[in-house]
Symmetry: C2
Subunit: 338 residues, 2 copies
């Protein structure tokens, strides 16, 4: 492996000049630059990451802390990860993948040993135990999610409260008055994962504002969980004409179940799903949905980290506005029937 000294010698300049060609931090004459670049290309020189990190205290690496257990929404996680890695590369950074399992210790390990310049964390809980540690790190963090106490920490996410409002307003606008919510699994609520809480809060607020009759229900994974949830909703909210489903995994069994019970979508029951676009479109019924813009959120998280790194101002809370796309799972209830 050639070093910067080899390049310098080959180009007939000093090592520092090579460094300045690489970093652009000082003006270098066009011809010197050309000679240096030629030497770099010819020798196939790549600066040693460790040496660079040591000398400059920058690693050009981001940590991504992902929940790699399988009880969560795998495809969405994957979309976040893809977006983060891609965006990071566009800023000339790489991504170190950590599991949430390592908890606080993992964060501290990579931060204290200066392996990364910044951290991006997913699957944030309401009172996330990692928060104090995050605040103590010298590296900035960006959260995908919004804990209760997020003062001074950059947070990025879909505005789930607004999303719930949007879903209800859409349904109310179509004349629905009795609406059920199928939420994430109880485990997710138990962890107080922030998107679940925020969606629920938005749902309840909008429900009150719009003077709707609503019932909310978490939902265990699997067909049995869906069956139970649906049965409960039917009992507690007779005459229910619409469902908001904030639980990607239940969509498929739910549709199966409804069909088996002879309840047509949207003729007998309308559905608004909150899930990635592609999921909504790959169901037996083309679902009206509010997209979870994993790609945008991931990209924004990286951009925010970059701004933080070069000391620019950032808005500490960035909640992306939800968008609802009409497809074929909501019907208009005629005014006479409302």
């Amino acid at each position: 492996m050639p070093t910067i000294n080899d390049v310098a010698r080959a180009a007939g300049v000093s090592p520092s000049t090579v460094s300045y060609v690489l970093s652009g931090r000082r003006p270098i004459s066009a011809e010197t630059r050309a000679r240096v670049q030629a030497a770099i290309a010819e020798l196939g020189f790549h600066p040693h990451a460790g040496a660079r990190a040591l000398a400059s205290s920058k690693t050009n690496v981001l940590a991504l802390v992902a929940p790699l257990r399988l009880d969560v929404n795998v495809p969405v996680i994957m979309q976040f990860a893809t977006a983060v890695v891609t965006a990071a590369r566009s800023f000339n950074h790489d991504v170190l993948l950590l599991t949430k399992d390592e908890g606080t210790a993992g964060l501290e390990r990579v931060a204290h040993s200066t392996m990364v310049d910044a951290l991006i964390l997913m699957d944030i809980e309401r009172d996330d135990v990692r928060l104090p540690a995050i605040r103590r790190l010298k590296q900035p963090s960006v959260l995908i999610g919004m804990p209760a106490d997020h003062a001074g920490i950059a947070c990025v996410d879909l505005d789930f409260e607004a999303a719930a409002g949007l879903a209800l307003r859409h349904l109310a606008g179509h004349g629905h008055r009795r609406i059920g919510l199928i939420g994430p699994s109880p485990a997710v609520y138990r962890r107080q994962t922030t998107y679940a809480d925020r969606f629920l809060a938005g749902f309840l607020t909008a429900s009150a504002e719009l003077e709707l009759r609503t019932v909310t229900h978490p939902c265990e994974p699997g067909a049995d969980g869906v069956r139970a949830a649906l049965a409960d909703l039917d009992t507690e909210l007779p005459g229910m004409t619409a469902l908001v489903v904030h639980n990607e995994e239940t969509l498929r069994p739910l549709l199966d179940l409804l069909r088996a019970a002879g309840r047509r979508v949207p003729e007998d029951i309308s559905i608004v799903a909150v899930c990635p676009r592609d999921v909504a479109m790959s169901m037996p019924v083309n679902l009206t949905s509010i997209d979870i813009p994993a790609h945008d959120v991931g990209t924004l998280a990286v951009e925010t980290a970059m701004r933080l790194l070069d000391g620019r101002r950032v808005e500490f809370t960035r909640l992306l506005e939800p968008g609802l796309v009409e497809r074929s799972s909501c019907r208009e209830i005629p005014p006479s029937h409302r």
Copy 2:
């Protein structure tokens, strides 16, 4: 951030002694060691990763190159990734996540700049364009998959040829003679992703050996693709009594379709799936399946990388023996009907 010098001063020893306490490469008296460790704990010392990498030419980081596009089997990829990260941590290594999109350039970038000690690559194609580059790197690589020319490169995977044989033998043992294969999407075959090829090869060999009547068919994703594939199989192989499905994504629509057509599983048609255990068990019919042991493969890949790194011998080709678990999707055809 305290440095090794701070620790040395606090413990009243030289920096090299601290280093030897940390690495264990030279004998240190118990009492000195205790003093040093106390100082480390008190100061909260973590060695600087870059400095370490520079001085020792070891990064304690593995690259994981994953296909982060979404056309492939997301959950399986995720399982590999989880296994790799977890296993890496157990060897005190971290994982740098690269996308396959970056291709050869990405590998060379992280390898030449000494960001990683070894590489683990997924989604290997038959004549993978990255192979020459991989051979040239000074860091060792471990492939999850098996390219045509794998001489001198460590490869780890499920033995897909054997898996196909196992599936056919199971069905033949139950009296099935006419068996269809629903394979991955044409795109996967086009890329000549090695697991698809190898499974197909094993399927054809076993089919001949067992003197079965078989037809094989790739399958476009989505319900339409499945419908087309099934129709073709029915046409080309009238009287087909069993299906081998080597395409996780089609399982659900396939079962829907069969049910809709009034074909019961396993009464009218038997199925052996090749997919992760949890997928097989989360279907409407509990599927007899051959597990894709992503966890084992990922772990083995990391172990192999570690052996390579400390110069121990490795078997360059490790194909994990497939296991078939009987559930409820295969019926025995009575001898009278064979």
